[in-house]
């Protein structure tokens, strides 16, 4: 029986787990665990092999806490004092999901999962499941959050039941992204539990699934799926062998998965926007003036910042260097992947996500609330302390057809204090490029019109004209801020 069926509070984020439930609150995450399972969880978390993961922050910190505290925090009295053990985790600042990740991030989540599986194997433990939804990103760092996925293994079991899930949710999505350009958002929004070999084979085509790494990952499992029907229930019967032999087999299995993951490591992809810094239409003096304006507008504070349309991320990096914790959005997978690589390498507190702010990620899973929508996550965090919308509102208005008022409303919803935006006017060459002959639709769009629309919700604190008046930087604060 699941926890909810035993009278404990229901949680959309963990309803499948038979031994635990997780409750996410504004400032903490509580986990309620069956007493019997908690004993082995405590043993696992005390393993010396897991210490490096905890120290590096790649395994979520887990502290026991009194049941009364959880009852108080959840405002229920439903958790009995006996039979359950409660734990507290820190909250990850901004949860994100595989359909918002660049392939590099899925690869990093897969690497972390295998590193943990191998470490646990050496200590007689294992992972029950192997889905990237067990991982969140704290800045560019992957964090394994599902500690109740860790369980003591049956020593004589030579199989890892989660291998199929690892293939469906990590290796095959990476393969399909590499070989046919299937984006992670397209895949995971329609296939939360990944894609099986048979369907992957249909997408790849019969010849492509026979070549290179695809044969072992797609061709052979697809063939065996069709042939395995004759095995019936016998296929799923528990297997037993000598414990040292079982460990030898599993160690090789994890090693083979790691090699396959390495072979699918995403390379820095090119896109129209990856070279934007080199090809943009600005003069060098304007670039320097823009950086100075943004830097000044962000000075003296710090907090959580959302960079909408981050592109190569030069202003995300600028903000991170000034102490801001940045979530950087772009709908171009290639630039988000490159920014993640840079943030991970240089240690910037930046979480790049592949999100189109004009069509933000919907809520998915049970009740559309198992994995909340992008804007719901922004709202849950009380909005960001600052939002950058640099040279992006013309994309929202021209490409996505948003009215100016909707752009301002969106900005006001995302930030609770500062907004720094760059207005690109119809005379600018980049505006004309994306307008593609529809310039007359925006003939009345002037600097003054945008400033007036902003002034309904914001106090303008500064402006700077660039590119001979074709662009204008504006800094403002939500009305009512001190």
């Amino acid at each position: 029986m699941r926890h909810a069926d035993r009278g404990l509070p229901f949680s959309a984020s963990s309803f499948r787990d038979p031994v635990a439930s997780t409750h996410v609150l504004a400032d903490a995450v509580f986990r309620i665990v069956d007493e019997g399972f908690a004993a082995q969880l405590d043993q696992a978390l005390a393993l010396p092999g897991l210490r490096p993961f905890l120290d590096a922050g790649t395994l979520i910190a887990t502290e026991p806490c009194p049941t009364a505290e959880v009852n108080g925090a959840l405002m229920v009295g439903a958790i009995p004092a006996q039979g359950y053990v409660c734990y507290r985790h820190p909250r990850i600042a901004f949860p994100s999901y595989p359909y918002e990740w660049a392939p590099q991030m899925l690869h990093a989540a897969g690497r972390l999962t295998l590193d943990l599986a191998r470490t646990l194997l050496a200590a007689g433990f294992g992972l029950k499941d192997a889905t990237p939804f067990n991982v969140l990103f704290d800045g560019p760092r992957p964090v394994f959050i599902d500690v109740t996925s860790i369980e003591r293994r049956r020593p004589s079991d030579p199989l890892w039941a989660a291998e199929g899930q690892f293939l469906r949710t990590i290796l095959l999505p990476l393969l399909l992204e590499r070989d046919i350009g299937l984006g992670l958002s397209a895949l995971f929004l329609s296939h939360a539990d990944g894609i099986d070999a048979v369907e992957a084979g249909r997408l790849l085509g019969r010849w492509r699934m026979l070549t290179g790494g695809a044969f072992g990952l797609v061709g052979l499992p697809a063939l065996l799926s069709r042939r395995s029907q004759c095995q019936g229930e016998n296929l799923y019967a528990p297997r037993d062998t000598a414990p040292d032999k079982a460990r030898f087999i599993l160690d090789h299995l994890i090693g083979r998965l790691a090699r396959r993951l390495d072979a699918l490591a995403p390379t820095a992809a090119q896109s129209h926007w990856t070279d934007y810094v080199d090809t943009r239409s600005y003069e060098d003096a304007d670039v320097a003036a823009k950086a100075e304006f943004v830097s000044r507008a962000l000075a003296g504070s710090g907090g959580r910042l959302l960079d909408v349309g981050c592109n190569t991320g030069e202003f995300s990096v600028l903000a991170a260097r000034q102490g801001w914790s940045v979530v950087a959005l772009d709908n171009d997978t290639a630039v988000a992947g490159r920014l993640w690589e840079r943030a991970a390498k240089e240690g910037h507190d930046i979480l790049p996500l592949v999100v189109d702010v004009a069509q933000p990620t919907p809520g998915t899973g049970l009740f559309n609330n198992q994995f909340p929508a992008f804007l719901a996550r922004c709202d849950a965090a009380g909005g960001f302390d600052a939002v950058l919308m640099l040279a992006v509102i013309h994309h929202l208005m021209v490409t996505n057809g948003l009215p100016l008022r909707a752009v301002v409303d969106l900005a006001a919803r995302l930030t609770r204090d500062r907004l720094i935006l760059e207005i690109v006017l119809p005379d600018d060459i980049m505006f004309r490029k994306i307008a593609r002959g529809r310039g007359e639709l925006f003939a009345g769009l002037t600097r003054e019109l945008v400033l007036a629309a902003l002034a309904e919700k914001f106090d303008i604190t500064g402006t700077l004209d660039l590119a001979g008046g074709g662009r204008c930087l504006v800094s403002c604060r939500r009305k009512g801020q001190p």
């Binding site: 019969r206 065996l224 069709r226 040292d244 299995l253």
Partner: protein, 79 residues
Amino acid sequence: MSGVAAGVMVVFVLLLVAPPAYAYVDPGSGTLLLQIIGAVALGSMFYIRTAWLKLRGFFDRFSGKSAAGEAPKDGSESK
């Protein structure tokens, strides 16, 4: 044609004539079957490795005894 080449040819032919997949087929079954086949193969490797380690241990002990029988070269052993 070698055994390996014949095996590859059989797999190719099976793939080309494979029947369409049906929704009721457990999507993970092929992966599980492949893992079981791999486990059997690795199990054989495990026995070969164990036998090899025992054999090497035997020779190491043998050569270790010979080494122990030699007088230390620095002459530190007391009479």
